[in-house]
């Protein structure tokens, strides 16, 4: 191998060590028996894994997070798929304007969005906090849906659609029986990607949670500010396992190369 590329290889390895070592440390530390987090751990214990399930707040907020993310993603799919279809199928006046609006939540700082939702939805319009939290998550999810669905529609051959219509199917029927099945893997990938980003969200949830209603990341944030035991490490391991499974689904549907574009 060339000498310069060997140096480059070591450099890349070190950068990846920096990226992955902290997560590996968390995994090892979560199995330590001590009351405070230590690395390397002085033994092996599943005590802290078990402790996650004993902390009522984690169990409760985990379920809330799952619910908010799943419902939020479903709503965003219903709003986003037709929009993504219109944006990639037709050319019309104001197309880039609409495209910009649909992608804008990705550009608005999450913390500003959360604040403005609290100020206007919760306080001004007196919407229930749960509804507002759900709306906030739908907003941040929509850009992911639009991007992924548009990307899978760009590979879709619209002449199939015309064939279906010339054979007598109407527009709606064609969409559900021809277009949608063809972008099925894109829809699955969009669901997973949207779910995971909603599930992990902090800045929007931060303003839209309170006594009685919180999400898991917010609860973890509060916990680590006052506790330094391995419970959070153990919880992190479970979340990482979940991420790995979801990533596997993304690889099988969209392909992870989507991220390097």
């Amino acid at each position: 191998m060339h000498k310069t590329s060997k140096g480059l290889k070591i450099f890349a390895f070190l950068v990846y060590f920096f990226l992955l070592a902290p997560l590996v440390i968390i995994v090892f530390a979560s199995f330590g028996p001590d009351k405070s987090l230590t690395f390397p751990p002085r033994g092996f214990s599943l005590k802290w894994m078990a402790n996650i399930f004993k902390v009522e707040m984690f169990r409760k907020t985990f379920l809330i997070s799952i619910k908010i993310s799943v419902i939020g993603t479903l709503i965003a799919l219903v709003l986003g798929i037709p929009a993504a279809y219109a944006l990639s199928r037709y050319n019309f006046r104001g197309k880039s304007f609409f495209n910009g609006i649909f992608l804008s939540p990705a550009l608005i700082p999450g913390i500003v969005l959360g604040f403005s939702l609290l100020k206007y939805l919760v306080i001004y319009f007196k919407l229930p906090i749960y509804t507002s939290l759900l709306i906030g998550h739908v907003i941040i999810i929509i850009p992911y849906i639009i991007r992924v669905i548009s990307s899978s529609l760009s590979n879709f051959d619209y002449s199939i659609e015309e064939a279906s219509m010339s054979l007598g199917a109407n527009k709606v029927k064609t969409f559900f029986t021809v277009v949608l099945p063809n972008i099925r893997s894109g829809v699955i990938a969009a669901f997973i990607l949207a779910f995971i980003n909603s599930f992990n969200n902090v800045p929007v949830s931060l303003f839209l949670t309170g006594p009685g209603l919180s999400t898991l990341p917010i609860q973890m944030l509060i916990y680590v500010e006052y506790n330094f035991d391995p419970t959070i490490a153990a919880l992190s391991v479970i979340l990482m396992a979940m991420t790995a499974v979801l990533m596997f689904i993304i690889e099988k549907t969209l392909g992870l190369s989507y991220f390097a574009k």
Binding site: T4, S5, L8, F11, A12, V15, Y16, F18, L19, L20, P22, L23, I25, I26, A29, T38, F39, P82, A83, A86, Y90, F102, S104, P105, L107, I108, P109, I111, V112, L113, F115, L117, K119, Y120, L121, I135, V138, I139, I142, N197, N200, P203, L206, P217, M220, L221, V224, I232, A233, S236, M240, T243, A244, M247, E251, L256, S257, F259, A260, K261
Partner: protein, 274 residues
């Protein structure tokens, strides 16, 4: 009528976003300029006169800029290496960059609390070897925030660059070298200019991400090194000073737009010099 049916497909999502995202945002921004007496910029004058806030604004910009530069300096060679590996290895590298990106930011920031904490890994190691007697305070300062930012956004930089670098025609480099350019010169004259779009996307993502991040500075910065996002949250939720929070929110958006624009125009100038 049928001609405009696509507007019908756009309408539900558009109305949803307009009512729930755009309108509240516009109201926050316009609200920061109005009082009962009318339009005013007095809140902004107060903000920029107050040393406390200008320090935080400058600190946030400085830390985001450092994080962007560090991510670019370390990300570029890494992405370049990845783009030259074979397709299987490349997939693995991409997967290992995506994994941290999809992991909760709370988990990722927490891991650095474990590493840099008073009784964390680094301090333990240094004490054991005997280099230091008392634990160093590595956490809750600007240094730990920058580490957190770089850690958080490095995958975005690497992935943006890999996407561009792997599409550069290998024959171009070979042609430059066969025409007498050294390896380094071929890189500087061919690969680097063509990779600038990826560098811009990556830099804008790292900079705006750092500028508006909340979790990392909250966990790794403590109360002494506040940034715009944490001070905005504190204003809104602890001090109930909603007016100042709206000003900070507006400043954050303006800085984000201005700096992204600057990075873009700087890159365009680099591009036209070619």
């Amino acid at each position: 009528m049928k001609k405009y049916s696509f507007y019908l497909l756009l309408a539900p999502g558009f109305i949803f976003l307009f009512v729930f995202a755009i309108l509240p945002l516009i109201m926050v921004i316009s609200g920061s300029f109005t009082t009962e007496e009318g339009i005013t910029i007095s809140r902004y004058i107060d903000f920029f006169k107050d040393g406390y806030y200008t320090t935080i604004l400058l600190r946030t910009m400085k830390l985001s800029l450092i994080a962007t530069i560090v991510a670019a300096v370390f990300g570029f060679p890494t992405a370049y290496y990845i783009s030259k590996t074979n397709i299987n290895k490349r997939g693995l590298y991409i997967a290992f960059a995506v994994f941290p990106m999809l992991t909760s930011p709370v988990v990722r920031s927490f891991s650095w609390m474990v590493i840099l904490g008073k009784y964390g890994i680094v301090n333990n190691l240094l004490t054991k070897i005997g280099i230091i007697k008392e634990p160093l305070s590595l956490l809750y300062n600007e240094f730990s925030i920058v580490i957190g930012f770089v850690y958080l956004f490095m995958p975005l930089m690497i992935l943006s660059l890999v996407g561009v670098l792997e599409n550069i025609d290998k024959d171009l480099v070979a042609a430059a070298e066969s025409l007498g350019a050294t390896r380094f010169k071929a890189f500087m004259k061919v690969v680097f200019p063509l990779s600038i779009p990826g560098l811009i996307v990556g830099s804008v993502l790292v900079f705006t991400g750092s500028l508006t991040a909340y979790t990392t500075p909250q966990l790794l910065g403590g109360t002494k090194s506040r940034v715009l996002a944490t001070v905005m949250y504190q204003n809104a939720m602890t001090l109930f000073d909603w007016d100042t929070a709206a000003v900070v929110a507006t400043v954050m958006i303006v800085v984000t737009i201005v700096i992204s624009g600057l990075i873009n125009s700087f890159a365009r100038r680099l591009d036209s010099r070619r």
